[in-house]
Symmetry: C2
Subunit: 399 residues, 2 copies
Amino acid sequence: MSSQPYELSNETDRVTITGVAFGDGSRGDVVVSGGRFERVGGSAGGNSGEGWLCLPALVESHVHLDKTFLGAPWQPHLPGSAVAERIRLEKVAQQQLGLTVEERGSRLVEQELRHGTGFMRTHVDIDAEIGLGHFEAVAEIRRRYADRLDMQIVAFPQSGILSSPGTADLLDRALAQGADLIGGLDPAGIDKDPVEHLDIVFGLAAKHGKDIDIHLHEGGALGVFELNLICDRTEKLGLGGKVTVSHAYCLGQIGPEEVKQIGGRLAEAGVAILTAVPPTSMPPVAALHSLGVTVVAASDNIRDAWAPFGNGDVLNRAQMAAYQQTLDTDDGLAFAFDLVSRNAAKALRLDNYGLAAGNSADFVLVEAETLAAAVAAPPARRITFKRGRKVAELPVASN
Amino acid sequence: MSSQPYELSNETDRVTITGVAFGDGSRGDVVVSGGRFERVGGSAGGNSGEGWLCLPALVESHVHLDKTFLGAPWQPHLPGSAVAERIRLEKVAQQQLGLTVEERGSRLVEQELRHGTGFMRTHVDIDAEIGLGHFEAVAEIRRRYADRLDMQIVAFPQSGILSSPGTADLLDRALAQGADLIGGLDPAGIDKDPVEHLDIVFGLAAKHGKDIDIHLHEGGALGVFELNLICDRTEKLGLGGKVTVSHAYCLGQIGPEEVKQIGGRLAEAGVAILTAVPPTSMPPVAALHSLGVTVVAASDNIRDAWAPFGNGDVLNRAQMAAYQQTLDTDDGLAFAFDLVSRNAAKALRLDNYGLAAGNSADFVLVEAETLAAAVAAPPARRITFKRGRKVAELPVASN
C-alpha cells in the first residue's frame, strides 16, 4: 500500500484517490473538487488507494473537551463513586493541572482528528462556580479548528440546575451566545425533581429553538420513568428527532418486554439513545434499532477525572460495542459502524453526510480490507480529510 | 522522543538505553550484555530513552495459532452458536483458505511480536481428523521463531476426547513428541463425562510429567463442580502450580460468597485462572487475586472461526480487563498489567522473568509516560527486544 494514496492538484483544488475499497464491498475512485465529492465509486483506472478503505468521516457524538487531562502529566485516577464527590474531585484536579481548557481540549481535538473524526458534539460544564468560562474556551477551540472539524456544543449543567442556583440563567446565556444544545443530568439523583429539571431543560430548548442532549445514568424503573417524561415533553413541544438521551443505563437493566415497550415509545417520540459502551448496563443497541430508535455510540470521558481510559477513537468504540453485544457477523460489524457514522449523523442532524457526490468531502482512509475488518480490529494507519483537504494522519511521524 | 532510543554495540553485544521510565515510576538505564540484563535502573547520564516506558516482555498465555485466518482475505464470521457446529464450520473455513497452518500462524506470531509479546502459550487442535498435523506445523513455527519468542504448545482436544475416538492416543503421541502441556475441553458438555475426561487429561499429564491447561466454558454450578474435580486431581497428583483453567465463566456467574469458597480452594490447590475478558461472565480477577489465586488474561481467538476480533496485543487485553472490572486507579491498572506479565509468567512457570540484572533481556519499549497510562490507552508505538536483540516494532514502516 502507498502511504500517500492520493493525488493533489492545488491549482484545481482537486483530490483523486483511485481504487480504494468502500464499506459496501465495492472498489472505486474518490474524486473531490471544491471541497465536495465530485464522484464516489466507479473507476477511471489506477489503484493509488490500494490497501485503503474509504469511510465517511467518523462522528464523535459525546465527548467532554473541557474535562480531559490531555497535555498534562499523567494524573492517577482518584476513587470517588458518588457523582457529587466526583464533581468536587474533578474541580480540584483541573485547577491543579496548570493548563487552560483550551490547551487540554485542543489536544483531544487533535487526537480525534488523527483517528478520523470529522464531526463532534461536546458537552461543556456550566455551573455557578465555572460560569461560562469552559463554554467560552471550547467555543474558541471550535473557532480555531473550524476548517478541520464541525463541532456542536452542549450547555451541560454538570452540577445540576436546581441544586446549583444561578445555573439556569447561565445555561440561558450560553444558548444565547452560541451553544447548540441544552443538556441535562440525572433529574432525580442530582436535582431531586425530575419534572422541574426536565421542564427547565425543555423550556430553554423551546425558548432558543435548540436541540437537547440529556445525561441519564439513573437505573431501572426510575430511568424508564424519566425516559417517559422526556418522551412526553419531546412530543408536546414537537421536538421529535432533536432530542438525545446519553447513557440510559436503565435500558440495559430491564427485560426484553420492557425494552420493547419503552423502545417503541422512544422511536415514536423521536428520541435517540447514545451509549458510551459501559462494561455493564449497556442499552441493547440492535434491539432498540429494530424498534426504530436511533442508536449511537461515542467515547464520553477520555483521560479525565471520570475515567483514565480512552484515546479519541470512535472506531474503537464501535469495536467495543460489537464485542460487548456479539455483533460479530459482517452485518453486525457494519451496524456497529453505523453507531459512530450514519446513526450518529442522524442524531446530530448533519445535512448531506456520507460518501456521495455533492456532499462535503469529509472522509477517512483506514488501512483495512473491509468495513468488518476495520471495526473488528481498528487500524492504526489513517488519513483524515475535511472538505477535501487532508487534516491529520496516524501514526504521527516520529522524529 | 527518539524513534531509536537505544545504542547498539555489535562488537561487544551490548545494548544501552538511558533514562527510560519504568512501571514503578522510577527512571533509569537499561544495559544489556550477552542477551541478559546487566543493569536495570540507575543512571550513568543520558536520556536516549526519553518518552519511552520499559516493560518486561508481554506474555500471551492463551492463543490458537492454528485457528487464525490471518494472511487470508477477510473471512466473514459465520453464526453457529453450539460448540459442535462451530467446530464443523471451522474445519470447512480453514480448508477453504488455501493457506497452511504455518503461513497463518506465522502471521499471528509476527503481530504478537510487534506488540511486545516475548512468551506465548498456544493451544493446537488435535483430533482424529486433524491428527498431529496442526501440532507439527506449530512446532515448526516454534522452531522458526525460536530466537524471537519462547513458545509453549498445548495438545488441545478441540473435538473432545471420549467423543472423538483415537484422540487420547494422539494426545499421548503429541506429548511424547514435544507438546509442553495437555489440554482439556468442557468435560461435561463435550464428552458428557467430566470424571472420565479429567482422569484421562490428568493421567496423561502424570505419565509425561507435563503441565495442564483446560478450556472450561461450562457455567454456574456445573462449572464449579468441575473446578472442584480439577482441584481434587491437582492435589492428589501433586500438580499444584502446574494447572491452569482457561475461561472459567462459572466464576463470573456465581455470588461473592461462592467465589470466596471456590477461590480459596483454587488457591490452595495451586490452580491458575485465565480469562480472555469476555463481555459477560468474566471471573472477578481482583477478588480471586486477593484470595491467592494466580489470575491471568490473554487474547484467545484472533480473527478466526470463533471470533473476528483481536489484534495480538495482550496489553489491549489488560486494558479491556481494567475497563470491564473498573480497575481504574494506578494500582488497579498496574494489577491489570500483572495479568499479562508477572501473573502470566507465574502460570507459565517462566524462570527469571522480569526486568532484573541477570535475567534474559526480554522487554518492550512503549511510548507512554507511566504504566497506568500504557494500560489505560495502549500505545501505538513499541519496540520489542528478545535476549537483548530488537526483534520487532510498531508501527510497521510503510512504503
